[in-house]
């Protein structure tokens, strides 16, 4: 296939693009894997221990042990905590009043006040959990009271973020590279005038399109392998289901994105516009797909938008296969949607791309 050979040859010469193909997944996986951490730890904390009793010191030590609060400062009065909170130096202020011991015994009064920077809801949520810390004089009591509700995290018991992020990241990285590179690949030829030459040759539209797409499918599959290996080596992200299932899902997803990229390329005139258009599609892919935020927590309209995006369905598939040991048969709808999306987008692209200039 002449067009494919030419495309591969050009790709090999285009060092920047080549670097992007391999550099982008590596950089993103490191970035997302290490930097984005939704399990909250080490919140900056200051303590105003006005009581300074045996019990209050023990309470502070317990607080530190949770690792949620990182006690940076000790101040004299509650008012100082407010100042620190306002300046943003701390997220949590622990105010222990003078009559702390008495308050602990008194069931009707709270013993400790947590001053929390509520501008970050995550912090507030964590602080609410701290309320459940037991405080009593009988600190040696081994047997802790069993809470009424017990939480048992399935699939990701250590609650490590990368385990959740990496399967989603595969979707994001594939969307980015597949869509951008196909859109740009066609538009570049139009900009350079190559397309005018090509459509004057006996090459058919179908040959031209498939010829340009094939190398990128291969690249997508290589990227997928790269992400899986890095995910395993650095973040210990498991693939519990079948790798074959994963690749089947990936091929459908890649096809959907390439078709979308081709469609974009038929709408725009310059490489710059192609980039803009793909970025326009990237934002919802990251935000609405369930990659960053739990899908069910989103407003209903956002959910509908998310359902349209192929990445939403792909992320469900990857998380299912990699983490829940699901097989493709468990999630037929997602697979069908990806296939249907590819066909629709491809048809639209083929209809818009004609071997004429007008």
């Amino acid at each position: 296939m002449a067009v494919t050979r030419k495309e591969v040859r050009q790709l090999r010469r285009d060092k920047l693009t080549f670097a992007m193909i391999f550099g982008m997944p590596m950089m993103q996986i490191l970035l997302f894997g290490y930097a984005i951490n939704t399990d909250v730890r080490n919140l900056k904390t200051a303590v105003a221990d006005e009581a300074d009793t045996h019990l209050s010191r023990e309470f502070i030590a317990q607080l530190e042990q949770t690792q949620v609060a990182d006690i940076r400062q000790r101040v004299a009065a509650t008012a100082d905590l407010e100042a620190l909170l306002r300046s943003g130096e701390i997220s949590i202020g622990v105010a222990i009043p003078e009559d702390f011991d008495r308050r602990v015994i008194d069931k009707n009064r709270s013993a400790v006040q947590l001053l929390v920077d509520g501008s970050d809801p995550t912090v507030l949520g964590v602080a609410n959990q701290l309320r459940n810390m037991p405080i009593s004089f009988d600190s040696n009591r081994r047997k802790k009271e069993q809470p009424a509700i017990e939480v048992r995290p399935y699939y990701n018991p250590e609650r490590r973020t990368p385990v959740n992020i990496v399967p989603g990241l595969m979707g994001v990285i594939l969307t980015m590279t597949m869509m951008i590179f196909t859109a740009v690949a066609i538009v570049r030829e139009r900009e350079h005038g190559n397309l005018e030459l090509l459509i004057n040759t006996p090459v058919t539209s179908a040959e031209l399109m498939t010829g340009k797409i094939l190398p990128y499918i291969a690249i997508g599959l290589i990227q997928l392998a790269l992400i899986l290996v890095i995910g395993d080596l650095l973040f210990d992200v498991p693939v519990r289901g079948s790798v074959l299932d994963l690749y089947v899902a990936a091929i459908l997803f890649i096809a959907a994105n390439l078709a979308l990229g081709l469609f974009v390329s038929t709408m725009v005139a310059t490489q710059f516009q192609a980039m803009q258009a793909t970025f326009f599609l990237m934002m919802p892919s990251i935000l609405l797909s369930g990659f960053m935020f739990p899908f069910d927590g989103m407003p209903i309209v956002a959910q509908y938008l998310g359902e349209v995006l192929p990445i939403t369905h792909f992320i469900r598939l990857t998380r299912g296969i990699m983490l829940r040991e699901a097989s493709l048969g468990d999630m037929p709808f997602e697979l069908i949607y990806l296939g249907a999306f590819s066909i629709v987008a491809m048809t639209a692209a083929a209809l818009r791309f004609s071997k004429r200039l007008d």
Partner: protein
């Protein structure tokens, strides 16, 4: 008779919105000739060429190219034509040989003969030394030789060249035309657009386009003989003053200054052009030598693009 024509177009028009890029163009291009499109930028040359190779759909009219109706049969036509775009459109990040190989592949040139055909083209178009160079780093003249080599690789019967020499030096242009003549001799029909008069002069036949309308056609000879204008060449010590004086004459269609000489065009219908010019120069005491000159293609061009307003006057 129709078989002698490589291109036959009737009433060919292309509108882009309100713009009539090409307006009812009739065209007869005999086989094995070099046919020129002469016209300024925006006169519809590229649009016409694109319609003829099926890249654009005509708004009106019909065109038969090498016996195929375009754009309906452009698929069948494609293997018969070679097309050189106005802008260099080969792949800058591939070498000369790689570009030729790619073109050979997409035209399904017989595998067995591919290598020898490419060697032959490298030789013919003086690209042997450059065969491993990236097309993007070559000079204008070299690129153009490569583009021509690619356009003729599959032995097309018709070659469409859209301003092929707009980016090359005069020597390269001469060489390029030598190549075109060689191709025409072997039976290839060549349609070439240009805005250079000296190139137009080399064509066997010529159509002059202006604002999408064909204003004249014929061989350069015929066109020069039938301008309907008398041309007076004026050699004056003070060409500026002479020009001002001559401009006052109602009969004058156009005055062009070439160095210290002026070329004055007067419609034949006004009679003795030399006398009209001389009389006016004497009246204003402008010393000048005058003589009747033979029309050049530039005069033809000026004459035909002026015609509508001037004939009405």
């Amino acid at each position: 008779m129709k078989d002698d024509l490589a291109i036959r177009a009737r009433g060919l028009s292309k509108h882009f919105g309100d713009l009539r890029a090409v307006d009812h163009l009739d065209l007869d291009v005999p086989k094995a000739t070099i046919y020129g499109f002469l016209g300024p930028n925006g006169s519809g040359k590229s649009t016409t060429i694109r319609m003829l190779c099926g890249l654009l759909t005509p708004t009106e009219g019909v065109a038969d190219v090498m016996g195929y109706r375009v754009p309906d049969q452009s698929k069948e036509l494609k293997p018969k034509i070679g097309y050189m775009t106005q802008k260099f459109s080969l792949f800058g990040d591939m070498t000369v040989v790689e570009n030729l190989q790619f073109i050979a592949e997409i035209y399904s040139y017989p595998k067995a003969n591919r290598a020898s055909r490419i060697d032959e083209l490298l030789e013919k178009y003086d690209l042997i030394e450059k065969h491993k160079q990236f097309a993007g780093t070559m000079s204008g003249g070299e690129r153009q030789r490569l583009a021509l080599a690619c356009a003729v690789l599959h032995h097309p019967d018709l070659l469409l060249l859209d301003e092929p020499t707009s980016a090359v030096d005069p020597q390269s242009r001469r060489d390029f035309w030598a190549n075109l003549f060689r191709l025409a001799e072997t039976g290839t029909t060549i349609l070439v657009s240009t805005h250079y008069m000296d190139e137009a002069e080399r064509c066997h036949k010529l159509a002059i386009l202006d604002h999408g309308v064909k204003v004249a056609d014929g061989s350069p000879q015929e066109l020069q003989d039938s301008t309907g204008m008398n041309i007076v060449e004026v050699l004056a010590d003070n060409p500026y003053r002479a020009q001002a004086v001559i401009h006052e004459l109602a009969e004058v269609a156009s005055v062009t200054q070439l160095g210290i000489r002026l070329r004055v065009l007067l419609p034949e219908s006004f009679g003795d052009a030399l006398e009209i010019v001389n009389r006016n120069l004497r009246m204003h005491n402008v010393a000048a030598k005058t003589r009747i000159a033979r029309a050049t293609l530039e005069d033809v061009f000026v004459a035909v693009t002026l015609k509508p307003q001037q004939l009405a006057a």
